[in-house]
């Protein structure tokens, strides 16, 4: 039911996309395209292994839509090493943290919101760093949360998923303090 309706939604959006093209509305088109991409990204990909480039495209789409909402308050930078683009990582590895930042970190923040993603190869590891200057959260309290079903896409589930996949406990390291932002390090063995 869910996937079907998502498919329906996607095909409906496609339809609108084409009409926007017919009516000569490029910006609308772009937006619609981005939404469709995000929907496609989210659909049917749970736990899949995808290329870094795909992940980053999704992140870009997501952030640009958010940018539209908040005008220029959101600032996004990335330093991506080109060699990393073809590496395969797990679906939602980066997206989970970006979503978390955008939904939760900037609620009461004054000033410009910054998100930065750095990615480079370090020896036999792919090193990813995600920083934001949001309001931070109590890491220890969060990690102690004991939820019966951990929703896919949350930080907890991502951590456990990656740890399970790579058979290492410390694939992800999170540093966060209240009002001082959050910094996430992901070390993926290649």
């Amino acid at each position: 039911m869910k996937n079907h309706s998502l498919t329906e939604l996607i095909s409906q959006l496609n339809c609108v996309y084409m009409i926007a093209a017919l009516e000569d509305a490029p910006q609308s088109q772009e937006l619609i395209r981005q939404v469709i991409d995000i929907l496609r990204y989210k659909m049917d990909r749970k736990g899949h292994i995808i290329k870094v480039s795909e992940e980053l495209t999704a992140v870009d789409n997501f952030i640009s839509i958010f940018k539209l909402r908040f005008n220029d308050m959101l600032q996004y930078d990335n330093e991506i090493d080109q060699s990393c683009l073809d590496v395969y990582i797990s679906h939602y590895t980066i997206m989970a943290f970006i979503e978390n930042s955008l939904y939760h970190a900037f609620k009461n923040k004054e000033g410009i919101w910054k998100i930065k993603i750095c990615m480079k190869k370090q020896g036999s590891f792919l090193h990813i760093k995600i920083d934001d200057n949001g309001s931070g959260f109590d890491i220890d309290k969060y990690m102690q949360k004991d939820m019966p079903d951990i929703e896919y896409g949350t930080i907890l589930s991502t951590i456990s998923r990656l740890a399970g996949y790579y058979k290492k406990e410390d694939v992800i390291k999170i540093k966060s303090s209240i009002d001082k932002g959050t910094s996430v390090e992901v070390n993926i063995p290649i």
């Binding site: 039911m1 869910k2 996937n3 079907h4 309706s5 998502l6 329906e8 939604l9 095909s11 409906q12 959006l13 339809c15 609108v16 009409i19 926007a20 017919l22 009516e23 000569d24 509305a25 490029p26 910006q27 609308s28 937006l31 619609i32 939404v35 929907l39 989210k42 659909m43 839509i65 539209l68 909402r69 939602y92 979503e99 939904y103 929703e151 896919y152 896409g153």
Partner: protein, 501 residues
């Protein structure tokens, strides 16, 4: 009044006392009879012995008289002094016996006879004395006097015999009477014993019945109760003894057991109803969640999507793309309906609006391939239905039926009112549902379909419709392959409220 007092007290005695009283009464009666019989017998024996004594006395008189004469004769013959003394003693004995007889005489005849005997005796003694004196003096003329005395002796003997005779006949009359009385006594005794036995038996039966009847009632009622039949009647006992105590206790117990059972039954009925309500609510919630398709499972944050659609709508308005704007707004409305409408029940009007928005979008997709028709002549503002009913069914009709058709696809929604029932009909001329599939759907078999998930869509709608109608069958599906499908749902025209769940 005494009887009443006795009756009242009777009920108050304990069983042991009642039994004792009963036995006491029986013993008393039997004793009374025996004593009476004994007394009567004793009296008769006394009388008999009295008459026997009379005979022996009279007889004794006779004997003594003869002895006396013998002594006289002996002295006259042998002139022994011993005989003289004996004669004198004998006279005293005779006097004694005669006095005894005289004391016991009771008729005039015997009175005269005794007088005659007395007189005779006087003369006889005179003669004997004279004879004895003459003899003593050695004279030989004593015989004359002795013969005189002998002649008087004969008379006396005669009188004594008469006396005896009288006594005999008296006593024989008395004896006859005694015999009669004895036989009467025997009859009375027998009758008395019989009567007593009957009374005792009857009384005993009554009494034991009186005792056991309540006990039997108690036993029967207890048996009934133990078998599970709790509707036993109250046991009535008139007395106030132990049996009454038992019966009262039993009555109280049976009443309280009945009350307990009723209470329990009521409670469990209430609990059952509460449980069913709860279950219904939970099921409804679950189905709603299912129906709420853009749920967190797909990781789409609804607000995000909603806001994004709004942005697109603004952008397209700004870019003056009219159709784009309309479409995005329709999508937005559809989406908003699905995320904000956590109400389980909405008005039919709202459902219709959503279908129209949906069809608006679909028209763009399918263009002339589809014709959509909505006919509704009634006021739908007052009709309450579950949410997400119409749109999924129409969507289903399009997907299942029309997509496979190149041209001429038609979906019609018809809403009519018949009596107090509102009929919602969705008709399409698409590919139809094969019979086996239709049966599965109608039998509400949930299957996990990996491919075509449409049947689960209908399933969810139909399940919720059933819940809404309290499990009464209120929908009908008719379908022929390659001809089309008809889905009819019946809703009550009144009742139900727009509920927020």
């Amino acid at each position: 009044m005494v009887l009443k007092a006795i009756k009242n007290n009777w009920y108050r005695f304990s069983i042991k006392n009642k039994q004792l009283i009963f036995i006491g009464i029986i013993i008393l009666c039997v004793s009374f009879i025996s004593i009476y019989i004994h007394a009567v017998t004793h009296k008769s024996i006394e009388q008999l012995s009295k008459s026997v004594t009379d005979y022996s006395r009279i007889n004794n008189l006779l004997v003594q008289l003869r002895i006396n004469k013998l002594f006289v004769e002996s002295y006259l013959k042998e002139k022994k002094d011993k005989d003289l003394n004996e004669y004198k003693q004998s006279k005293d004995i005779i006097k004694l016996v005669l006095d005894q007889i005289e004391a016991k005489q009771d008729t005039t005849q015997s009175y005269f006879l005794i007088a005659a005997i007395k007189n005779g005796l006087v003369s006889y003694y005179e003669g004997c004395n004279t004879a004895l004196e003459i003899r003593q003096s050695g004279d030989e003329n004593y015989y004359v006097h002795f013969f005189q005395a002998a002649r008087i002796y004969e008379y006396i003997e005669h009188y004594i015999r008469q006396l005896l005779h009288i006594k005999l006949s008296e006593n024989s009359r008395f004896y006859d009477r005694l015999i009669d009385r004895a036989s009467i006594m025997r009859t009375i005794t027998f009758a008395g014993i019989l009567a007593m036995s009957i009374i005792c038996l009857g009384f005993g039966l009554l009494f034991s019945n009186y005792l056991t009847k309540p006990v039997r009632k108690l036993a029967a009622a207890s048996l009934q109760m133990s078998k599970g039949n709790l509707d036993v009647k109250q046991i009535e006992v008139r007395s106030l003894d132990e049996v009454a105590v038992l019966a009262n206790a039993f009555n109280k117990m049976s009443m309280s057991i009945r009350r307990l059972v009723t209470d329990l039954k009521q409670k469990s009925a209430i609990e059952k109803r509460l449980y069913e309500e709860k279950l219904k609510n939970i099921t409804m919630q679950q189905l709603l969640k299912e129906a709420n398709f853009l749920a967190l499972q797909s990781q789409i944050n609804p607000h995000f999507l909603f806001n994004t659609l709004n942005i697109i709508s603004r952008t397209s308005m700004f870019e003056q793309a009219v159709n784009t704007t309309n479409l995005i707004q329709s999508l937005s409305k559809l989406f908003r309906y699905s995320i904000t409408n956590q109400n389980s029940n909405v008005t039919l009007t709202e459902e219709i609006k959503i279908v129209e928005e949906y069809m608006h979008i679909q028209m763009y997709r399918f263009g002339s391939r589809i014709k959509f028709d909505l006919r509704c002549d009634i006021d739908t503002d007052d009709i309450i239905v579950p949410c997400f009913i119409l749109q999924p069914l129409v969507e289903n009709a399009i997907i299942h039926g029309i997509e496979s058709k190149e041209n001429g696809g038609m979906v019609r929604v018809k809403i009519v009112k018949r009596d107090e029932i509102v009929l919602v009909k969705i008709i399409d001329n698409g590919a139809g549902i094969p019979k086996s599939r239709l049966e599965e759907v109608l039998n509400r078999e949930k299957e996990t379909h990996m491919g075509h998930t449409n049947s689960i869509g209908i399933m969810n709608v139909l399940n919720r419709v059933n819940l809404y109608c309290n499990d009464k069958k209120c929908f009908k599906i008719k379908s022929k392959v390659n001809l089309g499908t008809l889905v009819v749902i019946a809703f009550p025209a009144k009742g139900g409220e727009r509920k927020i769940v």
